[in-house]
Each structure stands twice: as C-alpha cells, then as structure tokens.
C-alpha cells in the first residue's frame, strides 16, 4: 500500500477492482464505510456481485482477465473529458518526457520484439536525451513524441463501446464508475484504488497494476490522503516476507539478488545502482552501495572486509527464472532432492496442483514446518496413491502459533507491529525462529568439519544469544543496524557522535565502507536507542488524518503515506489544504505533517528542491515505463485461455508470455470462464481455518458457484454434486446456485462463469476438492504470478460422488 487502512476514510471515491475487501479484508470496511458516511463513493468492479459489490454505490461486472481494457478505458475517459490533474501530470509525471524515434506500436506489439525468444529489448523504448544526457522534455505536452501525446494516442482506442464489448460490462455501469472515479482528478478530491489477486493473478498482472498507477497519477491521486494504489495483501506478513527478500530475485530491502554476470561487488553495484545527471533528482536508489554493504556486514560480520568485497562472492548468483512455477516444474523433472516448506502448502496453493502433488514424490526429502498436517505433509497418503510407491522421506515439524512467540509482522499499510508471547507453544511445538536457528547452527557445525565450499556457511555471522530460544530482540536490532566503529557524522548543521555498537537512527546514516551493519535497510529506524519502535502504542494523531505516527512503526522512516511530495504543489503547499499530508513551512524551512519523502525543500527551491518520485532516476512518476518485460504502456490482451478474440489487436495474448502445453481455448470442450476466489470464513490453502470448528461450521465444504441461468441450462439444482473439468484435471463439489453470478455478454454471445473457492484439500477437519487442480501453470510476463483468475472449464451435473 502507498497509504494505509485508516486512510481509506479520507477518500472521496474508492475503486475496488480485483479485490473484495468486504469479504477478504472485512475490517477495512470500517474505514470504507466511514468514507461513505462522509459522502465518498464506493465503486466495485468484479466478475461476481460480491459482498463489496452489495455495499457499493456502483457495481460494474467485468469479465475475468480484462482489467487493462477496463482501466485503459478510464484513462481515456479522464483524458477525453479533461478530468486529469494537469499541474500534477505536467510537473510530477513523465508526461512531458520525449521518447526516442524508435518507439512504435502496431497491432498489439511494441517495437523491438523478438518473436523467437518472445522478449522485448526495452532499450528501444528509452527517452530522447539532450546534450547533457538528460531526458528531453516539452512542458507544453504538445510534442507528438512526448509521453502525454503517445499515451493519449494509445488509449484513444479504448472507447467506452470497445471496452464494454471486451469486458462484458453494461455501458451505463461503466460510465457511472468512470465518471465517479475520474471526478477525483480535482486538487481538492481524493480517489483511492484498492486491488488484490484479481489484478495480479494474470498473464499481464504487472501491467494491470501499472494501469491503476497511471490512472492515479493522471488524477493526481498518488501521495495524497485518501489516495494511492493500495494492494490489499492477503497474509498477515506477506508484506514483511517480501520486504525480507524471500523471493528468488531479491535480497532484503528490495535489493536485487545477484545475477551470474555481476561478477564481483563492483560489477553488482554498477549494474543495480541507477544514475542521473539531473541535480533535482534525489535518485534514492543511488544509495544501493550503502544498503548492500550494510547487508553483507550483517551477514558476514568481521569476515566481511573491503578487501574481500564484503564476502559478496559467497552469495549465490542466479541465471534465469527460479519462480514458484519453475521450481514445481524442476521438482517434477526430479531436479530437486530436497524441499523445505515454512508454512507454505504448495499441494493446494499452487496452480495445476495434481502435477505438484505428483512432483513432491520425486523428492528425496521434504520438511514441512507448520501448525497442522497439510496436504503437502501428507501428500504420500493422499487419496488414490499407494504410499509404498512414494520414496520421499518426510519430516513434519510442529510450529508455534503467533500467540506462542514474540516478534513483529508488517501489515499491508507497512506498519510493523510487535506481538507478544502469551503462552508456551503446545506440546513440543517450537517457534520458527528456534527451528531456523537449529537448522543454521547444526549445518554450521557440520561444515566446520568440511564440505563443498564451506566458507559461506562457516563464516556466516550467526549469534543470537546463549539461551535455548534465540533472542528475537537481537535479531530485530541487527535488522535495524548498528555502527561497527565510533563515528562522527555531519548532517547539515548538526554533528552527530556515535559509538561502536550504537543503533543506527535511520537509513540515511548507513555507510558503504563497512562502518555500519543493517540487515534490511528499509527497517532502519525500527529499533533505535529509544527502543523498539514497532511496539509503540501511542494514539496521538496530530494531523487529524489518522496517521497515528506513534502507533507501531511504518517503513520507510515511519512515513505513513509514501510519495507524499505529490500531495503538495511545487512550492510545497498542499493541493488540498483540508487534508494536508505535509506542508512546507518557508519561515522555519522545514516540512510539517507526515515524514516527508526526503528532507529537501519543495521542488521549486532553486538550490535544493527535488522532484517527488524519489525512487526513480528521473524523479517523475512513469506514465510510460522503461523496464517492463511487456511494453511501456499496458495493452489489453486476452487471458491465455479465453472464450473471446482480442478485439483490440491481432495479438491474442501477451506476446511476452510463453504458453505451456496443457492449455486450451477450445470453447466446444470448455465453454465457461472459470475463476477462483476467497471467502471470509477460510484462509488461503485452508490449513489455518479448515481445522477450527467454528469456521468449519460456517463453511463446511467445497462448493462451486454458478448462475441461475447456467444451473437451468445444465439441470443443476442448488446442492447437487457437479464435476468441473479443465485441461489440467477435474474436481467434484456441491453446486451453489446464486444470483451473484451472471453471464457476460462477450462480442454478442452470452458467456457463463464458474466461481471456485480455492481453500480446500484432503487434510484437516473440513475437506474438499482443490480449486487449483483446475488452474493453469502460466504466469505474468514480469512476475510469473499464475493466471488463477481466468481459465476455461466445463461443468456437468453428477460425478462419482453424486
């Protein structure tokens, strides 16, 4: 989230697209309803008439996987009707930037596409530069090659008629949503966009997200109270686990994991430290060397020296893609011997899950660390297999629950909140911290006696106290970071003295010479000499905007609304004085309000002013992207399995996505659009809820949701057993016939949809077939997140259990 949960109350319009907060983030409705009480409009865009839809001022039905058409149409609507925030667009986005001569777009394909490799060369999309090496700009926004004009041209094709023909939305519903939301383009209005997996789980998911961000920048809605692009994250600490780099391409703090040709620290830093020649650009990632060296110092301690490149060589170097789906593919080919699952349940949670379950049997050993038996830990005795045939050795380790240990988690709004241990873990269960510490200390001991290249392990700095349980506060302090020697730092008019071992107060004091340690730079400031900031419980709210700056701690630097320099005009005055996030006090020469996005004076200050989008080398929000794998502008393509032809161009699906074998768009065989979803009463792969009697009583088993028209056509009554089939497999479940689902009108044809919760499996108290048996293993061109939300299926009454 750029903003945070309570801030939703500050919105004049809330667009929930590809998410269902009333169902999946129920308490968020407290703040959404408060916005509505103040006259704000809730707009719900979803394939199903959801709980959120039922609360909305306007509901618009959308066919799964057509979000870019929907959002592209809104971009066009805002441009055509002069509803954009012009000053914001001109000054703060790259609208005025001129694109080089090579840029071209034709029939769904951008320039520089390699049809063999299915890749683009994004260099061809670069800005045109002047003699000094800075991007050329035209502040009148009239140059035909400026981003604004290219954008206008690109989305002029996204007319309301065209969009509604693609999305299946009723025209009056579409216009109502577009009008209500685009009306927040005024400086005194705020609109927020909420999204979740309906946006990301798509072969063009990243471009879906980009489309939301572009619309928000056009309307001047980024950085303001009641604005932003807000991902409603689904697991309690999926924000934190991303922050700490548990993804193949990342190290903690969104530093990149090294690639094979980043041959040493110098080459790595050269590759990943962006540069700018524009003195008005803060280019915050220019600090990459400080954060990288501080991380290596946290990992290799005194062994990390300037001479040995701070032990950079010890890090693994990636060559290619190691995303979840690729790992499952490797496992299926027998290329993995071991797998450790820390509270993840791939037998239910991943796409094409029959294949994953089979692939687990190719492992030599499997370790699961969980509170419960999961489908993954008992895969070897799942229905239909003979355990004798499965040679995998399985270790099922009992983990402590969240109330049986101490530590922090980060919510969607980036608030890191401390949790306390209320009781001892049940039975022999242990905290994950204890378990990880045991793995590490035992492996370290084994490597002390020798092994292949033992140094990365033997030299690893790993000391978290003498007790049986590792000292969680020592870990939290290492994450924040400390000085390794006495330091004097001159910061403007202040001279600061630090002693070796002192906590670093904030990340601007981190160094690239080994004099600081920080395990995750974005959390620097979370545990300082003032103590554990994440445990704070002070309800003061000086701005009155609900920022609660002394409740817990938010990364970065306790900033509650990021990009907040976008909330003021270039002189530092709030666009909307009634909801001022930050204000420049020219007399005192300082910012007041939220922690500003950097200390510098406003952009118009001739000497020290900076552009607001400090994380980008050009300092301006990107309406036109330079580094996407599938084009500088989001373009509509159909999902890989689709009942429709792409009306927008001759390119049917995202050209930068390679399509695997077990996919089919044969609508004679699979006439219906399948989509998966979640519900309040269960959670994710289900282990945490399907064994709780209260929740099981509420939703005891798997079901398949269909419309009344489809039920009639197929002779299915509510509660009948049905069988749903895709190219990957079949499942059986009870039919739930509702008026929440309606067919879509797609290019003159009625297309029915089938809704499937994905929470079920064969372990636990409440069992049922898994929705993900049906879903395809094909993912987003940029992130490899699978296309769970749009596929083709068939449904029939009956089945073996009927």
């Amino acid at each position: 989230m750029t903003n945070h949960w309570i801030d939703l109350r500050n919105a004049d319009a809330i667009l929930a697209i590809g998410c269902n907060p009333a169902e999946n983030h129920p308490i968020s409705m407290k703040w959404i309803e408060q916005a509505m009480d103040n006259g704000g409009k809730l707009l719900a865009v979803d394939p199903r008439f959801t709980r959120t839809g039922s609360k909305a001022d306007h509901y618009a039905q959308i066919r799964p996987g057509t979000d870019i058409a929907f959002l592209g149409g809104m971009i066009n609507y805002a441009l055509q009707n002069n509803m954009i925030h012009e000053e914001y667009v001109r000054e703060y986005t790259n609208a005025a930037f001129i694109v080089n001569e090579k840029y071209d777009f034709n029939e769904g394909i951008f320039c520089s596409f390699d049809d063999q490799e299915k890749t683009y060369d994004p260099k061809a999309w670069a800005y045109a530069v002047d003699g000094a090496g800075n991007p050329k700009r035209d502040h009148s926004l009239k140059d035909p090659r400026c981003v604004f004009q290219l954008l206008k041209k690109h989305y002029s094709r996204y007319t309301v008629d065209m969009v509604c023909n693609i999305t299946g939305t009723k025209k009056e519903d579409y216009i109502a949503v577009a009008k209500a939301f685009c009306s927040t383009g005024r400086p005194d209005k705020a609109g927020t966009i909420l999204y979740a997996m309906g946006i990301t789980q798509s072969t063009h998911g990243t471009q879906n997200v980009r489309a939301t961000a572009m619309l928000q920048m056009l309307l001047g809605n980024i950085g303001i109270a009641g604005g932003g692009v807000n991902a409603l994250r689904g697991e309690s600490n999926v924000q934190g686990s991303s922050d700490y780099g548990l993804l193949f391409h990342l190290l903690p703090g969104y530093l990149k994991s090294p690639e094979f040709d980043n041959v040493d620290l110098k080459a790595y830093l050269e590759k990943w430290t962006p540069k700018t020649k524009d003195p008005k650009s803060a280019n915050w990632w220019g600090n990459t060397p400080k954060y990288t060296v501080s991380l290596l110092k946290a990992w290799y301690g005194d062994n990390a020296t300037k001479e040995n490149g701070f032990c950079y060589d010890y890090l693994p170097k990636r060559s290619g893609n190691y995303s979840f789906m690729k790992l499952m593919e490797k496992m299926g080919k027998g290329e993995l011997q071991g797998l450790i699952c820390m509270g993840q349940n791939p037998a239910v949670g991943g796409p094409d899950s029959l294949k994953t379950r089979e692939a687990l049997g190719k492992l030599d050993w499997l370790v699961t660390v969980d509170l419960w038996e999961t489908e993954t830990s008992i895969f070897w005795k799942r229905p239909g297999v003979n355990p004798k045939d499965i040679k995998t050795e399985v270790f099922m380790l009992p983990a402590a629950s969240s109330v049986e240990k101490e530590g922090s988690i980060s919510n969607s709004g980036r608030w890191a909140q401390w949790r306390y241990k209320a009781a001892e873990p049940v039975g022999d269960a242990k905290s994950d911290l204890w378990i990880i510490n045991q793995f590490a200390t035992r492996v370290k001991k084994a490597y002390a006696k020798g092994g292949t290249f033992p140094e990365p392990i033997t030299k690893l700095s790993w000391n978290y106290g003498q007790g049986e349980e590792p000292e969680v506060h020592m870990v939290a302090k290492e994450i924040n970071g400390y000085f390794t020697k006495d330091m004097t730092i001159v910061d403007k008019d202040k001279t600061l003295e630090f002693k070796a071992g002192d906590q670093v107060p904030m990340f601007k004091y981190l160094q690239d010479d080994g004099s600081t340690v920080s395990g995750c730079w974005i959390y620097c400031g979370s545990y300082t000499k003032e103590g554990n900031q994440m445990a704070r419980r002070d309800l003061a709210d000086p701005t009155g905007l609900g920022l609660y700056p002394k409740w817990s701690w938010a990364w970065p630097v306790n900033r509650r609304i990021i990009y907040n320099r976008g909330s003021v005009n270039p002189d530092g005055m709030p666009f909307n004085p009634k909801r001022a996030v930050i204000t420049w006090d020219a007399l005192e020469k300082k910012w007041k309000g939220d922690v500003p996005d950097g200390p510098w004076p406003p952009m118009n200050d001739a000497k020290e002013g900076k552009y607001p989008f400090i994380m980008l080398p050009e300092g301006h929000g990107r309406l036109y992207a330079l580094d996407m794998k599938d084009g500088p502008f989001p373009e509509h393509y159909e999902p890989v399995e689709s009942p429709a032809k792409n009306l927008m161009s001759k390119t049917q699906t995202n050209p930068a996505v390679k399509i695997p074998a077990n996919m089919s768009s044969d609508t004679a065989k699979y006439p219906f659009v399948g989509t998966t979803y979640r519900m309040t009463e269960h959670w994710q792969a289900g282990a945490m809820t399907r064994s709780l009697p209260w929740l099981v009583e509420l939703v005891p088993t798997m079901f398949v949701e269909i419309s009344q028209t489809l039920a009639r056509a197929k002779g299915i009554s509510n509660g009948d057993m049905v069988k749903v089939t895709t190219e990957r497999g079949s499942i059986e479940a009870k039919a739930l016939v509702t008026s929440r689902l309606k067919p879509f009108s797609v290019q003159g044809k009625e297309v029915e949809q089938v809704g499937l919760p994905w929470h079920f499996g064969y372990a636990g108290l409440a069992t049922g077939d898994s929705g993900n048996v049906l879903t395809p293993s094909v993912g987003c061109a940029n992130t490899s997140i699978p296309e769970f939300k749009a596929f083709l299926c068939n449904i029939e009454k009956g089945g073996k259990r009927a």
Binding site: I27, G240, S241, L251, P316, D432, F439, I479, W694
Partner: protein, 190 residues
C-alpha cells in the same frame, strides 16, 4: 457476568486515556474493571490471518490461553474482528495442532514420532549432503560461452514465509542465501 455496551466502551476509553497519558503499556492492553477477564494476565497480539493488521488481546490463566478478543485500543480495528480473527482462540486451543515431531520413512504408510534432536540432526545432514552434491561453483553461459562463478546449490528449494514473523523471515533469508539457495520463494509469488 453481563457487561453492557456502555460499560464496555467506558473500559476502552479509560484504557485509551491511560495510553495517551504516556504510561507504558506492559506488553499489552488494559481491561475494563468489570470484565469477566478481570485479574487475568493479558498481552496484545496482531491477527495472523489477512494483512489488515487488527489488534487482539490474549488472556491467560495459569499459563493457558483462556480468551482472545479484539483490542479496543487498536486504531485499525477498534476492537472489531471478522469471523477468522474471532476464531484465533481455536488456533491456540485445538486438538488438531501438531504437538510432536513426526517422521515418515521412504515407502512407509505412517508417520512415527521422533525427537527434535534426531530429526534436526538428520535434516541438517540432508541439507549438507544435498548442497555438497548439487553445488554448482561455475557454469558456462549459453549466450556468450563464457564461464561464470555462480556458487549455487541446485538441488534444494526453500518455500514459505508469509506466515512468519519479520525476524524469522530475515533469518530464513540469511540462512538460505548462505546455503547457496537460489530456489527461494514464497506465497507472494502466487
């Protein structure tokens, strides 16, 4: 005993005033004076389900969790909880929770109970063997035919982390990379 909504809210307001007055909350929230949880030990926590980050108060008696409810002082949920958050009590008190280390031998049709020490030693040895056997120090890149140092363990993958605490995620990341594991992924990818 019955507590009227009015009395309940008064308790919450008194507690909020206590916090605003700058007194340190001892690892948790204060309860209203007439609550049936009076006299019990309490501590605060954050919901382990979705990422709204609602606060809860956990009450214990003689080391056992006897009640969990919404934290009225928490600014996000102000005491309210959804059906999952309200059921957290049954995560803490549930006969289906794993209590023992269980092991399934290759080809076996059942789990058997083992000690932590036995399992952890064996797992550490498996990790080491797999790393030693599948470690790739160098590889030739297909595109430029040059040799690169990659220091990568090919044969094992680590999954998960969205349900772990930050401090656990950090150590997991640190341990994984020291082991040369490039195959490091979690729920954010799906």
């Amino acid at each position: 005993m019955a507590v009227s909504r009015r009395e309940f809210l008064q308790g919450g307001a008194a507690a909020a005033a206590l916090i605003l007055s700058g007194k340190k909350a001892e690892a948790g929230g204060a309860d209203g004076s007439q609550m049936r949880t009076k006299g019990l030990k309490s501590s605060t926590t954050i919901c382990p389900f979705c990422a709204v980050g609602c606060g809860l108060v956990v009450h214990t008696k003689n080391g056992k969790i006897v009640n969990i409810e919404g934290d009225t002082q928490h600014p996000i949920n102000q005491g309210a909880l959804c059906s999952k958050g309200s059921a957290l009590f049954q995560v803490a008190n549930n006969e289906r929770r794993l209590q023992k280390v269980m092991y399934r031998a290759p080809g076996s049709d059942k789990f058997e109970e083992k000690s932590w020490d036995w399992a952890l030693e064996r797992i550490a040895q498996k990790m080491k063997d797999t790393r030693d056997k599948s470690f790739k120090a160098k590889e030739i890149n297909k595109k430029d035919n040059k040799e690169y140092v990659v220091n990568r363990t090919e044969g094992m993958a680590f999954l998960g982390g969205a349900g772990l605490d930050n401090e656990e995620c950090y150590l997991w990341s640190k341990f994984a990379r020291s082991m040369g594991v490039a195959n490091l992924e979690h729920q954010a990818r799906i």
